[in-house]
Amino acid sequence: MNQERAKRWDNTKLSIRVFLANRTALVGLIIVLIYVADALIMQFDPGLLGITQVNTLVPNFTNPVPLPPSWAHPFGTTFPGVDLYTSILKAIRIDLFYSILVVAVGSVAGAVIGVISATVGGLLDETVMRITDIFFSIPYLILALAIGFILGRSLMYMSLALALVWWPLYARYTRSQTLSTKEFTYVEAARASGVSRTRIMFRHILPNALPPVFIQISLDLGSIMVIFSTLAFIGFIANAKVPELGYLTSLGLNYVQTAPWAVIFPGVAITVFALAVNLLGDGLRDVIDPRRRS
């Protein structure tokens, strides 16, 4: 038993070493952690960064035209007189929360459907695959737009719409992972030694098939946040006071000729996050894939 534990510890140490060897992945991890820390501070103690109204933008109608960066406004202001620095700090919490919601709802629904589809097989499997085909036949941005439009223009419905568009991708991925795990020799060995079907499924196949699926999914967080903000940018938010990065960018769009900072800072905030998640993902893939561990 002790030996096994030592072996496992060795394995973990190797994983950490492989990950740390990839400098860019480490940078990605640090940036992601900074964003998460910001979201947590905003959630529990926004006063720490001198912010009072976490859920709304604070307009200043006496001076609505964007002002350049200064000591009072480190990132400048955007229309209508909204301070960009504090707004971006607030917006990160909202963007992160709803992106995680999209990934969570989409991946759980997709994974459950994918596993069932792969295990039951036959007509059900065929039907599920055709349904995912149909979902893939509409550009996701358009479909999310249509679903969100029908449900109502709010952040919650917007993320639900994205989850509805996203599950087919995860269902397919989970299905193919489950099917390929099923073919491994150790599963065959379990079957030969008379282990029941449900036990094989839950003890032997799923614990090995699901982790790569969920890691893959969490790496989509960056792209999801980008798409989420894109929907907000093209006018999905009906409430004019929501701190959201895409919406913040759109506020400054009419002033792009005189106040470029108003569109650059919120846009860069989202790009940096997406970039960090992608870098982190590359590092994690090295850790998971034994072939890349050399």
């Binding site: 036949s137 439009f149 894109t230 000729q257 860069v268 790009t271 992608n278």
Partner: protein, 351 residues
């Protein structure tokens, strides 16, 4: 299976996909009740008693008092007969089919130019990156495409506007043509050009070369934005596909025969490296259509995407539903073409 049998099989598979597509759009239009169908088909110009009569006629025609699956077939029948309802937005009010005829040509033009740019930039840099593996320019290209890949498309557009439109002032940042150039023309009325509705082509048809050139310049920024948003993925995939091909035995053979590196790359390697890229074409079309919505909104470019966002802002059911259906149809056809081309190029697919 020969190519014909494969084509027919693939065409038959199209039927359930199209039915599913229409079903999704139909279900969407029913999530919040029957009134959505009414909103879709009731002409916005009717008022008062005429409106009430038209409403009754629509209820009878679409059998709105019958179960929902019955309604679906009446609605599908209308769609198949080209009756897509009405749209009522700030930029256009009238039948959906007319709106599509007005806006779709512009989107097709934008997408076509973007697609050509993607192909030129993507193939060139993807192959270059693989051939000069681990050189400084390869690393620069990889960092560049990685960053582009993470950027939201609106930020790419805005960055280009700031650099090329505001600071360098070399390209116009909004619209399809300078308004002063087209005032008082007989073939350009209220922002709509005739007869093809693509101003570049119309200007050439009327021999107005100055206007055509001006329209081309206006098209550049939106097209470059759209291309840059999509090309990053192509460069990355082409690079790894090219590296894989360069590792093959027949490349080694070609080199050992003493062929020059240029011939090896251009004649032996590139064609095979492009094979997996064909499958990306469907994804590219989806990206172009989705990206067009954002790009057309930023640049006030009067295409289907601009109309869709207007429909969203003006709560116009007809526009949103029609756009979903139309974009879906285009993508379905694109995917069909991809499969057929792939089967044609790579015979292994058919079996």
């Amino acid at each position: 299976m020969n190519l014909w049998a494969y084509t027919i099989r693939r065409l038959l598979l199209l039927i359930p996909t199209l039915l599913g597509l229409t079903l999704i759009v139909f279900i969407l239009s029913h999530v919040s009740g029957n009134n959505v169908i009414l909103a879709e088909y009731l002409s916005p110009k009717l008022t008062g008693a005429a409106r009430a009569i038209a409403t009754q006629a629509l209820i009878a025609r679409f059998h709105l008092n019958q179960p929902i699956y019955v309604q679906y077939f009446y609605w599908l029948n209308a769609i198949l007969h080209g009756n897509w309802g009405y749209t009522n937005t700030a930029i256009y009010s009238g039948p959906v089919t007319t709106a599509i005829a007005l806006f779709l040509p512009n989107t097709l033009m934008l997408s076509a130019v973007a697609a050509i740019l993607i192909w030129i930039i993507g193939v060139r840099f993807g192959v270059y990156s693989a051939v000069n593996r681990d050189s400084v320019s390869d690393h620069a290209l990889r960092v560049g495409s990685f960053t582009l890949y993470a950027m939201p498309i609106y930020l790419i557009g805005v960055a280009l506007i700031i650099v090329l439109g505001v600071y360098l002032k070399v390209l116009p940042i909004s619209g399809v043509v300078s308004p002063t150039m087209v005032s008082g023309l007989s073939w350009y009325v209220n922002g709509i050009s005739y007869p093809t509705h693509i101003i570049i082509i119309d200007a050439m048809l009327h021999g107005a070369w100055g206007i055509a050139l001006n329209a081309v310049i206006h098209l550049l920024l939106p097209a470059i934005t759209l291309a840059l948003a999509i090309v990053a993925g192509l460069i990355r995939i082409l690079r790894s596909s090219m590296l894989e091909v360069l590792d093959q035995d027949y490349i080694r053979l070609a080199r050992s025969k003493g062929l020059s590196e240029r011939i090896v790359y251009n004649l032996h390697a590139r064609k095979n490296a492009l094979l997996p890229v064909i499958t990306l074409f469907g994804l590219t079309v989806a990206g172009l259509l989705g990206g067009a919505v954002v790009v057309e909104t930023i640049f006030n470019y009067p295409g289907i995407g601009y109309w869709t966002t207007q429909a969203l802002l003006d709560s116009d059911v007809g526009g949103i539903m029609a756009a979903t259906l139309l974009f879906g149809l285009i993508l379905v056809v694109a995917n069909l073409l991809v499969d057929l081309i792939y089967a044609f190029v790579d015979p292994r697919i058919r079996y």
